[in-house]
Symmetry: D2
Subunit: 195 residues, 4 copies
């Protein structure tokens, strides 16, 4: 969550516009190493929904209400979604359990909020950024295995995408931005294909 | 939930195979008349996720565990999904709030469970049936307005679709069945177009 | 293409209603063993579009015009689509080249025609049936390898699905029916999972 | 189509690497004012496929072959797709005929080419940019009505998106970028919602 202008009273905004965030980046998300069809997974399933769905929903609602209270009309909400929020890939060795469905919620919520923002006559924007696998602390103990050897995006790559989205002109709303990693170890093999 | 063979001991199944359901139809679902961006909606948002997502998840998990305990290998789980589980349409006068996202969960869960069922070597099937607007008690007090004058499917239409899906041969798995209403009052106007 | 009532004049339909088809099953489709990025594929790419897209389009248009000329208001057009008409899966050893895109056309055309049929006040329906791999003559010389050892649907399975779709009551339109094969050789292994 | 390095021989590339394009922007596209179900539309339907599908396919193939001949390993192909390449919206007064299906081809081709590029061990990237309605010369005589009064994106907005995509680092591949217009006339009305 990026801070908006502080309480210094620089005069660029009127009373009541201070102290809140104008841009919200919802990047919280957890994974769990479970199957939907296994016993004893209730706490894990609930935790995924609490963080990935309800956490995002409450933060977005409160930020929107704060924008309206502060008379700020040009905020921006960004969801860090996932490629599995659009399609469930065939995975061999584990289950995407409630993680992929929780990201499908984010894809749908993006459109729900786009409509609500327009109906409430605000110029505040909503954007979904959906990367493939990113090398983050989401691969912690108790969650998925660290995919060593697999090409991954870096957090800075996703941050760059967010930076692009939030600096577009007022009439341009990046609705969805899907990022995939481009394997980087192809240079030595590519010589086979050129004459 | 359709009952499986009762406890009469007709001998067609061995010990431990009695008393459970072989076919589970997850048709529970609620709607609420809220916006995501409105204050005071926490209970309603949670209720939608509890019924439409967790209710479906727990029922499916317990039914699957029951099938395995009873050594039943050919069960069938059916999700009553929705057309808004696949795409969020532009709606003018209200918000599909957490309802459409909750149905997106069902679309994703269908594929998640298909993979889990196959990995666990069971012939039990999973099917999503996604109708457009159906004339049911979902339009109760406190939920959406009853869409009078709008063509709607009847519950029996959805039941017929489910009947088709659960009677397919063992190698055929209806993964998704999307049903839309066909407007029925066109006969008088169609004469304009024929000579 | 299923024949409608012939020219015998059995009286059940008035003048001008004879001699055409009331139900059209568009099941033609070809595949080619090419890459989009290879030289010399122009004829193959064109052939896929000609058969899978234009063939289907012309047949549907002519059938619709025939229905209107014969004053038949309750026809049915069925597209035999494919699971790859909805999503392009990751495939290891070959390219889905223009085949998957040509089936994406069918998915979109289903909705285009649904809207056109409604706008023209006809009760004629449109349905897309999207199976996974089916054991047909599409695996001919020059096309893809016959996927031996892989579970496949049979043509009769798809025909059964079509039969279901075309016998629904007038207000029920099966918009999309996705069929996946259920692996059939799991019975011997399933014993591992039951106690 | 952006020009690559010319024939001046600046030495930064070896023999055979000159004279071609390293970045290809496929922005050609036509619309027609027809219905799929109307007689006499064959030429228009073919024209849409020729320009929107085959034109894009041939240009991409030749550019890719040129890259390989010139031993260029880091090209970029960009498709100017459309929001209707992902979903066919409900449209009241006209038909999206073969236009929306032709854009669905582009969505599928993006993934097809991503896989082919990776299989051929090139670092050349593929990106789909899918804007909503853009104010361009596509609204020419014989095509769709100019949507006056409707908020539209400008060509420069799409060009900016392309600029962002082609300057990402080697490991980052923008797979899909969906842009929607944000209505700009809300400032005067937004005062109703702030206190």
């Amino acid at each position: 969550m990026l801070p908006g202008p502080g309480g210094q009273g620089d005069g660029s905004r009127g009373p009541g516009q201070e102290g809140g965030a104008d841009v919200l980046i919802n990047s919280a998300g957890i994974v769990r190493k479970i199957n939907i069809t296994d016993e004893g997974n209730s706490d894990d399933v609930r935790a995924i929904l609490d963080v990935n769905v309800l956490g995002v929903t409450w933060c977005t609602r409160q930020m929107f209400i704060s924008l309206q209270c502060r008379n700020v009309n040009d905020g921006h909400v960004v969801f860090i979604n996932s490629v599995v929020g659009h399609h469930v890939p065939a995975v061999k060795d584990f289950s995407l359990n409630m993680y992929a469905p929780s990201k499908h919620v984010i894809t749908a919520l993006t459109e729900i909020l786009r409509q609500e923002f327009n109906k409430k006559w605000t110029k505040t924007k909503i954007t979904s950024v959906s990367p493939g696998v990113v090398d983050t602390e989401i691969f912690e103990s108790g969650s998925w295995e660290y995919p060593s050897g697999m090409p991954m995006l870096q957090s800075a790559d996703v941050a760059d995408a967010v930076s692009y989205c939030i600096q577009t002109p007022p009439n341009v709303q990046i609705h969805e931005l899907i990022i995939k990693v481009k394997p980087s170890d192809v240079s030595k093999k590519s010589s086979m294909h050129s004459s």
